[in-house]
């Protein structure tokens, strides 16, 4: 009987601990399997992370009204990364988690127009107006970058680079964590910098 209570207590304690962890952080943990999701893109096609097995996936949180995002698009930095790495077989999803009425929110048509205007080249722009996937991954800012390896493991969570500014002139001076991680992965190496503090505008989730 004592043993039975011990087990019950253990289970309860475990539940408390799990509850605490998931309340304080997201389900996306570096070194663990990245949580699966399904989102429509701006052309209406649904993408599932699980369909990308065997490929490296980049998730880029996007809000074109945000000056930090503006820095990386005005300079062409983000487009260059997208072109370079999709050219190497990497899947690149730009995810918009802005709610309707909030900065950065796009209808599918608006997303397509702005993608064209900016000459952006992600694999797809995914629309997450409910913020479900943003919150699943704990996306805090725009930009906020995640990288998932071929085995589906989250291997990077953080900033795009190490200079937290809106100034285009900082880009050549910055250490680009995404480029570093992708080059390491493509070379069959482990990612050295796996977690950094993202910087930018807050993601404009629905209230």
């Amino acid at each position: 009987m004592k043993r039975f209570f011990g087990i019950i207590m253990g289970v309860c304690l475990g539940m408390v601990v799990v509850g605490f962890v998931s309340a304080s952080s997201s389900e996306a943990v570096v070194g663990k399997t990245a949580p699966d999701f399904a989102l429509p893109d701006s052309h209406g096609k649904t993408h599932r992370l699980s369909d990308c097995a065997g490929k490296i996936v980049v998730l880029e949180w996007l809000n074109h009204g945000c000056p930090f995002v503006g820095k990386h698009y005005r300079s062409g930095n983000m487009q260059e990364l997208q072109k370079t790495y999709t050219g190497k077989g990497i899947i690149w999803f730009s995810v918009i988690s802005s709610a309707p009425g909030k900065q950065g929110y796009c209808t599918p048509e608006q997303a397509n127009t702005i993608t064209e205007e900016k000459h952006a080249a992600p694999t797809a722009v995914l629309l997450d107006p409910e913020g479900t996937v943003g919150k699943l991954y704990g996306a805090k800012t725009t930009p906020h970058m995640f990288i998932i390896d071929k085995q589906g493991i989250l291997v990077y969570n953080g900033a795009i680079d190490d200079i937290r500014s809106t100034n285009v002139e900082d880009i050549p001076k910055a250490k680009n964590y995404v480029r570093m991680a992708l080059d390491e992965l493509l070379a069959g190496k482990d990612v050295t910098v796996t977690t950094t503090q993202p910087y930018g505008c807050s993601v404009k989730y629905k209230d």
Partner: protein, 301 residues
């Protein structure tokens, strides 16, 4: 009950009328837009005495609802940046930041200012100045202003002062502003002992203050780190207040792996400062002691 056709027409009309508005917003996203913060440069004194130090303030005046950021903006945002343009021989000190306000959104915590803030800087004048000279102190100020949305702002500001051999008078227009700001600047307190320790997951700050520290209450104290990204702001800080001492336990940020050798920041006490019942800031500037067990794990990770 309106006929369905009218309703549909109304809806289509509403939708079409929104299209240019939504696209218009997109166009506006590129800077420079209309700014909601004004910057200027104020001198505390009405003249400069050769070889002495005086204070100036970059004043940011923010429209209602808008804010700018502290030296550590928190989870989002960017600190205001001041780049000085001074005549030869003049030296500017570091920016002195008054204790910030907190901005909490659903998932992020940021630090900054609303309404009006003076960012103070001490300027040292060279001895070689001559009475009758006029000196132009100038700076470029860059900031990020946010309400729900954020815009980058920039202004070139300047103030011109005459050189006089006599000690300068204070400019009455800004006297109160400078005085109020100084009350909010982080203070050092002689006789206070501070230690900071870090293990793998947390930082603990222990403060012991002398028994004569009138009105100081440890409960309700809060730590604001100077270093961006060092601590996990989503996790409430734990305060253990005893008699004449207080310990604050703060969760480290997972995104900040390499601990700095030094901990800098401010502790905001709810009372016990110059204006006894007002919050005041205590400057933390101590070595960050790494606990051995965690160091081993750091090496292993």
């Amino acid at each position: 009950m309106k006929p369905f056709g009218t309703r549909l027409f109304g809806l289509v009309f509403l939708f079409l009328s929104l299209v240019p508005w939504v696209f218009g917003q997109k166009q506006k996203s590129e800077p420079p837009g209309e700014l909601h913060v004004r910057a200027d440069l104020l001198a505390e004194v009405t003249s400069i005495q050769p070889g002495t130090e005086f204070s100036v303030a970059v004043r940011l005046q923010m429209d209602e609802g808008w804010h700018t950021y502290w030296r550590n903006p928190g989870d989002s945002g960017m600190p205001t940046k001041i780049t000085w343009d001074l005549p030869p021989g003049f030296v500017a000190g570091k920016t002195m930041w008054p204790a910030p306000e907190k901005f909490q959104t659903s998932h992020l915590l940021s630090f900054g200012y609303t309404d009006e803030v003076f960012l103070l800087t001490a300027i040292k004048a060279p001895k070689s100045l001559k009475s009758g000279d006029r000196v132009r102190i100038a700076a470029r100020v860059e900031w990020l202003e946010c309400r729900e949305e954020c815009l980058p702002g920039q202004a070139d500001v300047a103030v011109v002062l005459p050189v006089l051999e006599v000690p300068p008078a204070l400019d009455d227009r800004w006297r109160q502003g400078f005085a109020e700001t100084r009350k909010r600047l982080p203070q050092r307190r002689p006789g206070w002992a501070v230690r900071a320790l870090a293990d793998r997951t947390h930082i603990r700050i222990h403060v012991r203050f002398p028994s004569g520290s009138a009105g100081v209450r440890g409960s309700g104290v809060e730590f604001f780190p100077h270093t961006e990204g060092l601590v996990d702001l989503s996790e409430p800080q734990k305060v253990i207040a005893g008699r004449g001492e207080v310990t604050i336990r703060i969760k480290r940020s997972e995104g900040f792996r390499t601990l700095p050798p030094w901990l800098e920041g401010i502790l905001v006490f709810p009372s016990g400062g110059d204006a006894r019942e007002s919050p005041w800031a205590f400057l933390v500037d101590v070595p960050l002691e790494h606990q051995v067990n965690s160091l081993e794990k750091e090496v292993g990770s």
